[in-house]
Amino acid sequence: MSLRITKRGLVLLTTTCLAAAAALGGAAGASLALWHDRATMAGQIRTGGAAFAVGKPSGSLTQAGSDHRATFTFGPAEAATLLSAGAVAVPIRVDSVSQGNRGLRYTVTPPTYPTNSIFGSSAPTLFKVGSAAACTTAAVPPAPNPLTSTPVSAAYSTSTTPTTEYWCVVARLGTLPDEGTYTNHATVTGQSEFGPAQDNTQWSAKVTTAMTAAAEPTHTVTFTYSTFRPGA
């Protein structure tokens, strides 16, 4: 048997097949797929940080580096005050922030004063004070005088407001290495017609220093901090 299809018949046949396929869902791939369902979840969390800086109370502060150290320096200007006023007090501001479950503590290392410097001859002391205003030449170090502090506890915190503390260097001018008195004793002996003769003479002078504030070396106070967990 041979089939002969008219053009009109061919169009009708094609239309019928397409309609049937569309009625069954259209997408043949989907119609044969196994079932699938999906749920999702996501999330992210931030990391807390720490900051540590020191400087003059009224000036800009110097941030600690990756070595967790920050330094404060003083020298000629403060030495000039020490020479002229006989005493000087140098306040230092320390700002600390530590977030999350970490506290912050630090130690203070005083400068090593050269013995032939003005500060080195003035027995400077370094101690913590309650405020910048409390740092005066009349201030005295506490006893004992710990050179450590824990400004931030390990209690959980999200604060970005620093805890501020103050330290103070106090120096009172002492005797400088090239300063003092000079005394000259002279004795003369001879022979006179009356026999041996001798005379003594003595004079003294006060010797003032030749040291100048401008020549004072820079002194560095080092603050080293670390952070710690609760209970540590």
């Binding site: 002969r4 019928t16 979840m41 967990r229």
Partner: protein, 193 residues
């Protein structure tokens, strides 16, 4: 319409109907009437239950474990956190088996010194090994019924990781997009292979 064309049309109609009968139509979810009774479609469904829960479990924090808000919590070195999300699966149907698979759509991004692993729990019991975040894990041969699942992620911040400088850009630990897929399988219990 000629007789021959009618024959051809009939053949084509039967062919289309036969092809349509092969396999299962994924979209069938409604009862379908039939002359000899009613065929009810099965169910394969997974649904997240409740919000994702973040818990601090740091052993040295006296308040732990306690829930935290990831939008405001600031993690630091030594912290340990757990992230959990519950899901329910429902399977209903004859010869219906499924597989639960955890994978990642968007990659996790953890900074140096932060690590994370996860496990999958079924009704509170661990059913996968501890798996690094980003690696897939699956549980196979799920049968009919409703079950509760938990994807439990543990995030650890190494105790010796460096303090983040507060002036540095914000640092995020991102879990990525976790995909939990429930797929019908034609294997396992009740199947030949």
């Amino acid at each position: 319409m000629t007789a021959r064309f009618k024959v051809l049309l009939a053949v084509a109609t039967v062919l289309v109907a036969t092809l349509a009968g092969i396999g299962t139509n994924a979209a069938w979810r409604k009862p379908a009437s039939a002359p000899l009774g009613t065929v009810t479609a099965g169910t394969l469904d997974i649904t997240a239950v409740g919000p994702t829960r973040w818990t601090e479990t740091s052993p040295d924090v006296s308040a732990a474990p306690h829930d935290i808000d990831p939008a405001s919590f600031l993690a630091t070195a030594g912290d340990r956190l757990q992230v959990s999300q519950d899901f329910t699966t429902a399977l209903e149907g004859e010869n219906l088996r499924a597989r639960l698979r955890v994978s990642w759509g968007g990659a996790a991004s953890l900074p140096a010194g932060v690590s994370a692993t996860y496990v999958v729990n079924r009704a509170g019991s661990q059913v996968t090994g501890t798996t690094p975040l980003g690696a897939a894990a699956e549980v196979g041969d799920l049968g009919p019924g409703t079950q509760t699942w938990t994807v439990l992620i543990t995030v650890s911040f190494a105790s010796n990781r460096a303090d983040r400088d507060l002036s540095a850009p914000v640092e995020l630990s991102s879990l990525g997009e976790v995909l939990v897929d429930l797929d019908q399988v034609r294997q396992g219990t009740g199947f030949g292979s």
